[in-house]
């Protein structure tokens, strides 16, 4: 062997020795760490044991007093322990009786429970599982179960579950849904009915109007002024009648048609209304500050402002009419006010005017339904409506709308 080769091997040997020394050192450190960890584990284990002993009596109390049924079973469903609530729920006579929970599952839900049990084993717990059982007394019950696996040294040994009888809650829920469905149906029917009635009432009015017109047209030379005037009165009466039918339909529609809420820009809405409404030259409508955007139904909010503003305009008797719209942020709601300098409303009528068919001033263009529609719309937006008024000075309507 050449000297070179010997040197090389010696160097390799030296390297290996050093590496081994290092490994030994690491091993030594690890052993020390391991020992320390074991010591800590032992300490916490004994602490845990002490705690367990201490809390065991407390747990026993909880176990007995818990309102829900509490069951501990082995992994095959055999009941190991149960509290009094569980005895009652499952139909046993006392807690020492033997039973298997799997045997109590209703045949229709067996598959579901098997699946749930598989999940319980793989996940360690299941929550909000609902299935039907048949109690020892042969009573069917719907139960709600939350369960978890009990482990011993990392191995699953048993399962514990809290079982609640939801048979009644469930049937109440079903009943409630049925009632709601029925209510919706009858609401729709009512709505449909209102439309049909309104159609059937309006048709004869249209016919009368046409017939009156024809008689007038065909006999223009033969009729005297009084007769012409009387014919005109018939037409006015028909118009009033039609308005009444429209308003009743509108009143019954508010609240029953779709409740699609959207963000409504009230500033834009008022601007639009000013174009639609007939505002006499001597009346000005002022919006005192920018109006907010609120969540609501646009058509109904428009109806609300339209009715109040046109009411304000209608009852202005001054040479310079003024309608002022203002708003105040009051937390959960906005408080709006619509103020006019019209004829005012006596205090004794302040409640009455919101009731249907209570027009204070019988005239061609008031049917007594406008304000009751207003009230219904405000109610629909979870608000209130009231007014302040002095006869001859004017009226301010206040109302709140939910933001």
């Amino acid at each position: 062997m050449s000297q070179d080769k010997i040197d090389m091997l010696q160097r390799a040997l030296a390297r290996e020795k050093a590496a081994r020394k290092q490994a030994e050192k690491i091993l030594e450190n690890k052993a020390a760490e391991l020992y320390e960890a074991k010591r800590k584990l032992e300490k916490s284990y004994s602490e845990l044991e002490a705690l367990l002993n201490k809390t065991d009596s407390q747990l026993q109390g909880v176990f007995e007093n818990i309102v829900d049924a509490y069951v501990i079973m082995d992994l095959w469903g055999n009941i190991l322990k149960m509290n009094n609530a569980a005895v009652d729920l499952l139909g046993f006579t006392d807690a020492s009786e033997n039973g298997n929970l799997m045997d109590m599952v209703h045949p229709t839900d067996l598959e579901l429970v098997a699946e749930t049990f598989k999940n319980l084993l793989s996940e360690g717990s299941v929550t909000d599982s609902n299935f039907k059982i048949v109690t020892k007394q042969k009573i069917e019950k719907l139960v709600h179960v939350n369960a978890s696996i009990i482990y011993d040294e990392g191995q699953p040994v048993a399962a514990q579950g809290i079982v609640r009888d939801i048979t009644e809650i469930n049937s109440l829920q079903i009943q409630k849904e049925k009632l709601l469905e029925k209510l919706e149906k009858s609401n729709n029917e009512l709505q449909e009915y209102a439309h049909i009635v309104s159609h059937d009432l309006k048709s004869p009015l249209r016919s009368i109007d046409a017939l009156v017109n024809w008689i007038k047209e065909d006999n223009l030379e033969k009729l005297d002024d009084t007769s012409i005037q009387n014919f005109n009165l018939i037409e006015t009466t028909l118009e009033k009648m039609e308005q009444l039918i429209s308003d009743v339909l509108m009143y019954s529609s508010v609240g029953s048609e779709s409740l699609e809420k959207q963000t409504v820009d009230l500033d834009a809405l008022i601007k639009e209304l000013k174009n639609i409404l007939f505002v006499p030259d001597h009346v000005s409508i002022n919006v005192l500050q920018p109006l907010p955007k609120i969540e609501g139904e646009k058509v109904k909010l428009q109806q609300l402002f339209q009715n109040l503003i046109s009411n304000a305009i209608k009852f202005i008797d001054k040479d310079v009419g003024l309608v002022e719209i203002d708003v105040k942020d009051i937390g959960t709601h906005y408080e709006f006010s619509i103020k006019d300098n019209g004829i005012g409303i006596e205090e004794k009528f302040h409640e009455k005017i919101f009731k249907i068919f209570h027009a204070l001033n019988k005239s061609k263009d008031s049917t007594g339904i406008g304000l009751s529609i207003v009230k219904k719309i405000v109610d629909l937006h979870e608000g209130h409506i009231w007014l302040e008024s002095k006869p001859n000075m004017g009226t301010t309507f206040f109302f709140t709308l939910k933001k």
Binding site: S198, H199, R206, S207, D209, A210, N213, W214, E235
Partner: protein, 143 residues
Amino acid sequence: MINIRETMNTLNILLIEDDMIEVMKLNRTISKLELPHNIVEANNGEEALKILQKKDELPDIILLDLNMPKLNGIEFLNILKKDDVLKYIPTIILTTSNNQKDLLECYRIGIAGYVLKPLKYEDYVSKIETLLGYWSINELKQI
């Protein structure tokens, strides 16, 4: 400038309406306005379908009331729009019902207009004048 009246088409109108006075109203309106159009009357949807069986005498437009006994307006419309020939006839609803549900349903099935019958006869006359004026300047399918 051309004289609009002279370029107007004479329309064959099928009026489907169960109310006798409504039928009288349309007839009287047309004669009052001295319009050249022809009106064929049907008292309900069933009768209208019978009239529409004669494929060589189909109307140019249909005026359709919604609330009718037997076959109502919407049912009639459904049948009409499923027919390969009849579906081309412009159908205008002439009704009292401003029920949004009816209106949406009609437009969904396919209509050429939705006109509310007004209370006042004069308003009716001017609505019909506008409506027929519009359709008589339209190019219609030659059947």
